[in-house]
Every structure is written in structure tokens, then in C-alpha cells.
Amino acid sequence: MPDTHFYRYDDYDRTLLSERVEQFRDQVRRRLAGELTEEQFKPLRLTNGLYLQLHAYMLRIAIPYGTLSSRQLRKLAEIARKYDRGYGHFTTRQNLQLNWIKLEDAPDAIAALAEVDMHAIQTSGNVIRNTTADHFAGAAADEIEDPRVWCEIIRQWSTLHPEFSFLPRKFKIAITGSPNDRAAVRVHDVGLRLWRNPEGQVGFEVIVGGGLGRTPIIGKTIREFLPKDELLAYLEAVLRVYNRYGRRDNIYKARIKILVHEIGVEKMREEVEAEFVQNKDTSLRLDPQTIEAISSQFAPPALSHRSAVVGAVEALKLENRDFALWLKSNTAPHRMAGYRIVTASLKPAGAPPGDASSAQMEGVADIADAYSQGEVRVSHEQNLVLPHVAVEDLPAVYAALERLGFAEANVGKITDIIACPGLDYCALANARSIPVAQSISNHFASLAKQHDIGDLKIKISGCINACGHHHVGHIGILGVDKNGVELYQISLGGDVDFGKTSLGDIIGPAVGADRVVEAVDALVATYLERRDEGERFVDTYRRLGVEPFKERVYATV
């Protein structure tokens, strides 16, 4: 198996995990013996990522910055098979959820995770959650710097941070190292964008107070350029201001976005900068040795020279139209000529978005070992990524993914739908998401049709908490419950790509579950009729506005 090219746990990390496993084992034992009430136990299980959903417990496993080794992915498959029902759900926060874990098995599942340096700590609760990153990090052609170095520094700083263990509400950080934001940084509590200033220095744009959920807000920039070594001092200042002033009296007004909205970005900046002055020359300033020690663990793999144009690939493109479409939609430019980044679509026609069986996870791990330096990434769009695939290996990778059912040429297309688990699993949901996604996926299954439609992102949430990111879907679909009936509210024009973050506009009254596909069909038909050359769906919407789309939908449904 190839060495990993990302952070490897040291003795400190492993000791922390093993102590945590034993603590949790004892907590579970005491709960099952009746020595702890549910009220006492609930915060303990939640801080270890164990939720109670409609039918069972769910374990949310952190996948730091969405990066996995093949060994870790195999272990996830094994845990899913041994302690769950043999499949898992990759989420919009680059995590994995196992939906059928038994409480009595949870300590063993967590111990198995620790064997491969993984855990479920801080995947719930009012704490700093798993920091997410561009899923092409370390491989993308447009990358300025690998954001995972900084994610790892944040992970070490934020894990079990005593001051930030009881925040007003959960806190999510995302980092992108590319100008083309693939990490949705403007809809996080803190978004960090690495960029190079006119003096040639690389630092962070710090964006605060973004978020989706009940009150969607696009984050505001409070620092245009932050030197990298000041990252933790600045983040600590942001968190301290939030911890001090964030509301704790109303759960719906407790996120930092509400604080920023209420006091205004200028006041927020003032408070953070004042706090930062106190912090910046303390031990929170990152010394060059620390940065170097972490950076060196993310050193890019030594990729051998490979040809960028391969006769066999060109020939297969002509022979096999699906392969040609797959190359177009499911592979992306790599920083090194002769390589591509491959996205394995977890959205074959009619499948629950983001779900993978244990056998499929093992299959992807095998492909990663054979063709991608043993590395896999999880995208917030609920797909898996093979970051370093040689062009000449693309036919073999395509064939291997096809055997797994993960070679659908639909990345970024209408069936590459983001959907939360919805009312089928989730105790908070009002309506189902997965069956709606399946209906749309089946309706638009034709690859030729999908590629004709072009880039179109549908995002579905089963409740206002917006785990399916519906606010930023080109077409957003929100499930609501009206007098016991599932209805779906449709919004248009949301986006998070390429720095053009925008929130969707609701087009009108919600439609019944049996009318969602017709409504989407009407939207697509309007676009196809009215689009200009080269326009994506969302571009046409921005040019024409809501009226023609709305008119067509309500004439249809």
C-alpha cells in the first residue's frame, strides 16, 4: 500500500483517541446499566457523534478535510458491514454517517475507527466541527496552496479546546486554496480563502457569519488578508467574540451569522481585531517549524512523468460515448500534466445520493491503491474523488468504477443531486428527500440529455435546517409539512461556485411530492428554450429572472 500524503497521527493523537474510546465504553456501560439517565448520557453520546434518529442510532464519523487513505476507507467498509447494515452515507460535510448502529456496539465501532486514526469526536454539539476543504486539495491545477495543512492545524487546535466546548451553537469552518471555491466558504461560520496578495505573499481572506439553515446568510469578509502564521490567533479572537456575545437564549438565533447580522460587520471586525491584538503575539502565533512540520506531511506524492495525450484514451473516446462524456464531466485538471482528478459519482440513476455499500467502498479503495496513490477524497457534493490518476490509466479506472456503479458521467449535472437523509432517517426532518432525488434522477437518467442540459445543481433538504444546501442550489427543493402532507418549495438561482455565492429565490407556493418532477421538467424546458449560447441554467435564470420559469411551472403543476 502506498504511503499517505497527509497528516499521520503521532503518539499524542493516538493516546487521546484510545483514552476517549475507553471513556465512552464506560459511559455506555453505565447508561445500559441504568447508572446514567438519558439526560445525563445524551451530551456524552453526542460529543462522540452518536445521534438517535427515527429508527436507530446514527454514528457520524469525521473525515478530516475529506481526506481518506485506502486503508481508512476499507476500515469504514468493515465497520459498516460488522456493526451496521453494510452501507454508509457520505454527507455534505465530508463525513460518513452509519444509520443503524446499536448503542451496545458503538464503543467497538469507535475503537475500530481509532485503529486507523479516525474518530467521531466533535461531529455533534456546540463545538467546532470537522473543518472541511476543497475536495481537490493537493491535486487541483488552480490551487495556490494545499488548504489541508491549515485544516490540520485547526483540527489540532480545536479538538477538545476547553474554552470552545460550550459555544452558543455549532461552528463550522471551511477552507479553499483555489480561486475557484469548491468548499462553499461563504456559507460557513468561518470561511477561509487562501490567496496571493500583490506583494506575492499568500494569506487568508477571512469570511465570517455565513450559513444556511433557517436564516441563510452569505458570509462577510472581516479581514482581506491575514498572514498565515496569525491564523489561530485570529480564529481564537473570532471564537472568543462569538462565545462572549452569541445568543444562548434562542437556539434559532445562536449561530454567529445572527450575531454578525445584529451587530453589523464593522462592529464585529472591531471586536475581533481588539481581541486579536491581545492574542497575536502569544503562543497562538504559529512558528515556522510547526507550519513546516505539518506541511511536510502533506508533501505531494512523487508522481512520475506520464504522457498527457494517450492514443488508447483518444481511441476509446471515439468508440465509447459514455466514456467520452465521463472524461468531460467526471475528470478535472490536475496540477501535473499527464494526470487527472477523477470523481467517482455516488449518484447512479435512481440511487440514494451519497450512499455506498461496504463492497463499493472496498472497490474504491482498491482503485485508489492501484491508480491514485492510495488516496481518496470525499466531496461536499457527496461523491468520492481519486485525486491522482494518470491519463493513461483512465480507461482502467473508468472500467473499474463502472463495475462498482460509480462511473455515471453526471458530475455537476442534473442528476448529481445533493440530498440530506430527510424524513426516512432524520428525527428533525419534515419531509422525505431521498425518494424525491430518486424520482428526478430516474426521470433525467439519459446521459445525452444531461449533457445537453449542462451544469445544473439540484439540492434537496427535508427541513429548514438545510443539510441538503437547498438555498444554494441552482434549483433548490425544500420539503415542508403542511397539515401532515409533504410539500416541496422550489427556489431558483442559488450558487456557491466560482465566488459567485448567491441564495435562491422561492418561486411560489410549494408543490406536492407527485408534482416535483414535473416542476423540475418545466424549469429545464424553459431553460432549454430560452438559453443563449454557452449559458448554464443559473446564468439564464439570472438573465431572465423568475417570471418565465414560474409561469411554466404553475401552468404545468
Partner: protein, 104 residues
């Protein structure tokens, strides 16, 4: 025909502590996975009493609560809300099996 759609008919449900499975309180104060064996409260006061009993028997379950149900002429009980129907019947779509690869 379903009757008592006003929500006066209720049963007590909870999730089992050991594995989270959906359970219902039966007439003898035990927890059962079968809705058809659930004790049925026919008015609001009876529901309150049944819930108190459920809470008293909650050692092996989590957070008992009342579920509004309907009852057919043949005595078949069904939850009124979609959420509770899903809790009883399970997922409304087919999941992928552990060893499945989709086109194998």
C-alpha cells in the same frame, strides 16, 4: 374506514435504549416492536395516564411519547402522521445491500 382522526386515539412509543429500535407500550407494561400489540388510549386523559405508565417503564427505552393513531373497523391501528408511519414501516426506498455493486 379509519375513525378518530381527531388525534384522540393514541399509543405510547419510544426508541429502545440498546439499539434505538422503535417500540410501543403494550397493555401489560412491556415494550413491543409490534404496533398491533400497543395499548390504545381512547381519549386525552387515558393518553396522559398511558404516557405516565410508559415513563415509569422507561428503564430500557428513551423518551416515551404519545403517537396519534387511527383505528379501522377491523381494529387495525395506523399512525396519523407520515413521520410515525415511517417509524413503524421503515424506509420508503430500497437501500443498497452490503455486498452489492450496482452493475455486477
Amino acid at each position: 374506514m379509519a375513525k378518530n382522526l381527531s388525534g384522540d386515539l393514541t399509543v405510547v412509543s419510544a426508541n429502545r435504549l440498546s439499539d434505538g429500535v422503535v417500540v410501543f407500550l403494550d397493555d401489560s407494561g412491556h415494550w413491543t416492536r409490534k404496533l398491533e400489540l400497543a395499548a390504545l388510549a381512547r381519549d386525552k386523559r387515558a393518553g396522559e395516564v398511558l404516557l405516565e405508565r410508559g415513563k415509569a417503564e422507561a428503564f430500557s427505552v428513551i423518551d416515551p411519547f404519545l403517537v396519534a393513531v387511527s383505528e379501522d373497523d377491523d381494529g387495525t391501528i395506523e399512525p396519523l402522521s407520515l413521520r410515525e408511519k415511517i417509524r413503524v414501516a421503515g424506509l420508503t426506498f430500497q437501500v443498497i445491500a452490503s455486498e452489492a455493486v450496482r452493475y455486477a
